[in-house]
Every structure is written in C-alpha cells, then in structure tokens.
C-alpha cells in the first residue's frame, strides 16, 4: 500500500544531506509538490499516481542540485559557514534552540581541531615515560615511533567532528598525507635538530598546523561546495527503516 509520508521522506532524504538546501527551501519544495498532487487528485488520479506525476514535474535532487548549488555559490562565505553551523536543514523554529545547536557544533568542531595536538602530546609524554622516545634526540631519528603515535591519535581525536560529515575519512587520509609531508619538511629541512623541548613555539605551531590540515581542508571544501553531511545511501536506508516502523 502506498505510504505518502514515506514517499515524501524518501524524496526529501537526498535534499537533507546537503547543506545547500535550507529548511525553508525544503518546506517550499514540499509545499509545491503537495500543491501539484492536489491538482492530480482532483482530476481523479490515485494518491500514488498523483505523487509520481507531481515528482516528475517538480524534479528530484539531482535535477535541482545544480540550480541550488549556484545559489549556494552566491552566498558569502560567512553566510555559508553560518548555515553549516546552524545546520538549517534541521529546521529549528526556536531561535534559542538554533543558537544552542550552533554553539554545540562550533564547540565540537573546535575540539576536533585542537584535540589532536593534546592527544599527541599526551602520547609523546607517555612514550617518554616508558623510555620509548628520548626528548634530547632529534625527532627525525625517531620518526617511525612518532608516526605510530601520530596514527594512534587520529581516529580518537576526530570523533567529535565526525558528525559533521561521514565523508571526513577521505579528508583525514588527505590531511594525514599533507600533514606528514609538511612535518617531515619542517623537521628535516628547516629544523633538522628539532627535538621535543627545543622546538618551542615553532615546534608547537608546526605540529598544530599539521594536525589541523585535514579538518581545515574538509571545512573549506564544505563551505565552498555545501558538501554532504552523511553518506546518502545509508541515510536513505535509515529513513526508510524508520518510516516502516
């Protein structure tokens, strides 16, 4: 039996995963679809036929994406970042809840950007405590162990920002690669004698920058393109399962 609510949710699901559609946009599109359906229903079509006829006229997400993407591109970066932060597709009606949600997301992003540095420092001190690394020896001589510590902190540090997008794993990989090259260049070419305790501010800044490259690159591309929040297919399955309960 045709379930209109489920059909609407399935149609809306791909719109909801992209930041280029605001909650207003989605409400408008849904209202238009229902207006279209009303006409078909008055002409005697069944609810299911009316839905599909309306859908063909209004268009699905891939059909409309380009036009909405152009609109996203015309927004200022501040406006785009604000929409990402407030996650406008959620459609909070209360300004207080929207602001609270935005603050929570900003904090989670900040934690995700800063946490790797502190976790890496903690692991380094633990390794030094177990005499696995020496503070006095240059880092590049102990590169393999630092690489292992680096790899250990990665998945745990970026958990807080994982909810921003399921695609961040691609950016983590890119970030690790870019950061590794960056740190290797700094340690080997600029400060070959760098060791923990001697680098001072430059050392801390180098490491912080290196760890932040992945999430920052992801954030830049998300703001630029209104990227996707979660994997579309898995979201569609979840929506369908929830609707059928």
């Amino acid at each position: 039996m045709f379930d209109l609510n489920r059909a609407l949710q399935n149609w809306m699901a791909p719109f909801r995963v992209s930041h280029i559609y605001s909650s207003d946009d989605l409400m408008e599109l849904e209202s238009h679809l229902l207006d279209r359906m009303e006409v078909a229903l008055k002409d005697g079509a069944s609810e299911e036929d009316a839905f599909w006829m309306a859908l063909e006229k209004v268009g699905d997400e891939p059909t409309l994406r380009r036009q909405y993407q152009l609109g996203w591109g015309e927004l200022s970066w501040v406006k785009r970042f604000w929409r990402l932060l407030t996650n406008e597709t959620v459609g909070f009606t209360s300004p207080g809840r929207r602001i609270g949600y935005a603050v929570a997301r900003a904090v989670s992003l900040l934690v995700g950007l800063v946490a790797p540095v502190y976790l890496f420092a903690l692991l380094v001190f633990l390794a030094a405590g177990f005499k696995l690394i020496e503070f006095g020896r240059p880092v590049y001589e102990q590169g393999m162990l630092f690489t292992v510590l680096w790899g250990l902190q990665g998945p745990f540090s970026w958990l807080p920002i994982r909810n921003w997008t399921g695609k961040i794993s691609d950016w983590m990989r890119l970030g690790f690669a870019v950061a590794s090259i960056f740190v290797a260049l700094v340690f080997l070419l600029v400060h070959p004698d760098f060791h923990i305790g001697s680098g001072g501010l430059i050392g801390v800044l180098s490491i912080s920058t290196a760890f932040s490259i992945g999430p920052v690159l992801w954030l830049l591309q998300t703001v630029s393109r209104g990227g996707y929040r979660v994997d579309y297919d898995s979201l569609l399955v979840r929506v369908s399962d929830r609707a059928s309960q």
Partner: protein, 112 residues
C-alpha cells in the same frame, strides 16, 4: 516547445511579469506561465525557487510565509520597486532582441 537555453533566458522576465500582476506563490507562478504559454514552456518546476531566491537577494522581490486555508504554509513573493525597474529593463532588452530578429528573419506572412 522552447529549448532549455531559451527557457532559461526567458524565465527571469517571465517571473517578474507574473509577479507584476500581484503577489503569488511558486505553484501558481508556474501555472500562470504554463497557461499563458499554452504549455510551450516546461522545466523542472523546483528550479523556479533558486531563481526567486536569487531575485530576493538582489532585492527585486520579497517573500513572506503565509498559511493557506488548507493549513499548508506557502511562501508568497511580491515585486519590489527595484523589481519593477528590472522588469522595465528586461522588456526593453527583449523588445530590442525581437526587433532585431524580425528584421533579420523578415516579418511573418499575414494570412488574412
């Protein structure tokens, strides 16, 4: 049936002209265009909204949410003063284009 490029070019002045007749919402704007064109103009109707939003950012139109009799919320759009000026500008441009093409193609033969 108009091709895509022609439809895209004509959409902006068309929507401005429909709104010049009075405040309206998305589906009714589409319906007005379809009826006036004899269904010669067709496009993914959802693409109307990005155009309306762009015109809103350009301060040509303004919008307001209203609740219809059936309880459904609809976003109504109306033309602003700048939108009226833009419509006049578009009319001038299309008049120039039509005149040029008429001169190049020759006038259509009169059947009466």
């Amino acid at each position: 049936m108009l091709d895509k490029e022609m439809t895209a070019a004509a959409l902006r002045p068309t929507v401005l002209a429909v709104l010049a007749q009075g405040e309206n919402y998305g589906y009714e704007i589409i319906k007005a265009i379809a009826e006036t064109s004899g269904n010669q103009v067709e496009w993914a109707e959802g693409a109307l909204y990005p155009l309306l939003h762009r015109m809103e950012r350009q301060k040509l139109v303004e919008s307001v949410w209203k609740t219809a009799e059936n309880g459904r919320r609809r976003k109504y759009y109306r033309l602003r003063a700048e939108g009226q000026k833009e419509l006049v500008r578009q009319k001038r441009q299309w008049s120039v284009t039509t005149e040029l093409l008429t001169k190049l193609w020759g006038p259509e033969p009169c059947l009466t």
